[in-house]
Symmetry: C2
Subunit: 357 residues, 2 copies
């Protein structure tokens, strides 16, 4: 256990919470890091009644730290700070260890904050949740999004309809099978959440699938470390063009943080543009890209389920890949409505729910 | 100049645009990378009437490439692909080379697509534009955002008022000076654009300032490469808490792409949480952080201007830092309205405008 004396003086001084240093109402810092004197050091310290009193030199500033706060926040022993978005904070899964689909009834989700918290927690930890029994009313998906965050409006509108269309601007709007992919990698920032609400699903086929992209990346890193390094170290361009829209984003398929932890996955063969790398890099890139695709498409990685009318899935679009089998539109209607939202709003709602418990 | 024969066969095969490989209407790819045979090679090729015909082995697939398309897309000689978001695609500036503020009259922006394109181009290249003469009607800022993209709704609502408030949840809502910072680094994804519309500015003080964060990062990299490496290689946590909201994001202050190019900057001393690094890393981090702050706060980096009623600035919130001097609310009203939006929508609008020219 570290003690206050092990903490660097500049760290302690920067975290002073007196009314001069932090706004008493909103907790925002009132000085700039450059305002502190050079060579800050601890001049004197003593503990009293669960508080640590520190006097600094050369500025003579006096700070009082709550001991419990210090225990929580003192510099830690690991190199990489905790990040709830990074792979090591997630419950990575394949079909064998996923267990039953994380789900909740919409009725109890709305009524019981504990059910709601567990559902949102599933999105954060497992990557998705299925809400059951959401009224099959058009545009209801927007109400679901409003329970935890804010809709991200895009060129598709506030919501989009997934059904067979006569002149589809996207293969999603056909009956063709769609292999595992993340949505909108041509957008930057990419929408971090997608919500899909099933209004009808009477067509033969059209089953849904999810793959944990973080699991696939983990398997790739184990089996083909070179392929992992190439995909995390190479940027490619994704693009979407329609009459009124021209979106393009240049990012890596596997996004790692400075500590090498997987943080985001982008995978969408439909919108990937011709890669523009040196010829030798192109060859290596394709070997890696094919290896990742092979891992993603292994049956043990894809959980397959059938959305029933009233089902609504909320899923992490920078981690999970989603898929659907092909379907015959003429034999019955299949109609989903979807919208995008962002993880930060969901995480905030979850944190506030946890406060109350 | 590369020729088609220099391009890797797998690259050519993957970019076939026949109706079997790409949806004729929407251009989306119809096969998966794993569907291609192993060991793809070019079996035969000939050029005719500005088109290159290629037959592949072992699949026997025949492709026809437009020569102009090939010249545009053939693998290139540089390691790093072009990315319009990365520092090398920007016009990096300090006060001495910024020149006059990029600006446009709101009237001509709405009437003349060339004026609008130039204004949006300034946001992409320089990081901001000032629109002059926007009606000082409440909520008009949302109409400005709608001309190029989609508002990002947050816990602050679709828009927020910047003026003195009795119980401010954020220092922005006081008369205190605010040093250069990016907004909402506690959000992930962070809003990439901010729009601020001045309704009144009669208070003494309250001048506005911008710093090009990419320039500051460039200077830091030149003067203190270690500091640059530490800030781009260390994640810190930003946080915002209010009664109904609890947002937290763990990211680096300088975000570089896999090629080391600066792509995003986050800088906000008010919401930075206690860093939780090993004690020795903490000391090094603070040296780097203070060095970056010192560079950012140099007068030669900050352009200062006064917003007049009717001025509306659109700026890149993952590149520019904004600031304001303190003001005396009792001597006159200062009232801005702001909202967030995203660069991808703006870039799309600009790309579509360019098509028409």
């Amino acid at each position: 256990m570290m003690t206050v004396l092990d903490a660097p003086a500049i760290w302690l001084r920067d975290n002073c919470s007196c009314a001069e240093c932090k706004h008493p109402d909103n907790g925002q810092k009132l000085f700039n890091i450059g305002d502190l004197a050079d060579g800050i050091r601890v001049d004197e310290t003593h503990e009293q009644d669960g508080e640590v009193h520190v006097r600094f030199a050369p500025d003579g500033h006096a700070s009082v730290f709550d001991s419990a706060w210090l225990r929580r926040w003192l510099p830690e022993a690991s190199e990489a700070p905790t990040d709830p978005r990074a792979e090591d904070a997630k419950q990575i899964w394949d079909v064998s260890d996923l267990g039953p689909l994380p789900e909740a009834s919409w009725e109890s989700y709305q009524r019981d904050p504990a059910v709601k918290a567990a559902a949102l927690e599933a999105v954060v930890r497992t990557g998705f949740v299925v809400l059951r029994g959401v009224e099959t009313t058009p545009r209801r998906v927007l109400d679901v999004a409003a329970t935890f965050g804010f809709v991200r409006t895009t060129n598709y509108g506030d919501l989009f309809d997934v059904r067979i269309e006569p002149n589809p601007i996207n293969l999603a709007f056909t009956g063709l099978p769609i292999t595992p992919h993340t949505d909108n990698p041509y957008r930057d920032p990419v929408p971090t959440l997608q919500i899909l609400h099933c209004l009808s699903n009477a067509a033969p086929g059209g089953d849904s699938g999810f793959v944990d992209g973080f699991k696939a990346a983990e398997v790739l890193r184990t089996e083909s470390p070179d392929a992992f390094d190439i995909l995390s170290g190479t940027e490619v361009t994704f693009r979407f063009v329609s009459e009124d829209t021209e979106l393009s984003a240049t990012r890596s398929m596997i996004d790692v943080d400075p500590y090498g932890r997987v943080r985001e996955v982008r995978f969408n063969n439909r919108s990937l543009q011709p890669v523009r790398l040196r010829p030798e890099d192109t060859e290596r890139f394709y070997v890696a890209y094919r290896a990742f695709a092979e891992v993603i498409n292994r049956p043990e990685h894809q959980v397959v389920f059938r959305m029933q009318p009233g089902d609504c899935v909320i899923f992490d679009n920078i981690r999970l890949l989603h898929a659907r089998t092909g379907f015959e539109g003429e034999a019955g209607e299949r109609h989903l409505q979807g919208c995008y939202a962002d993880l930060d709003g969901l995480e905030s709602t979850l944190a506030v729910l946890r406060r109350a418990r």
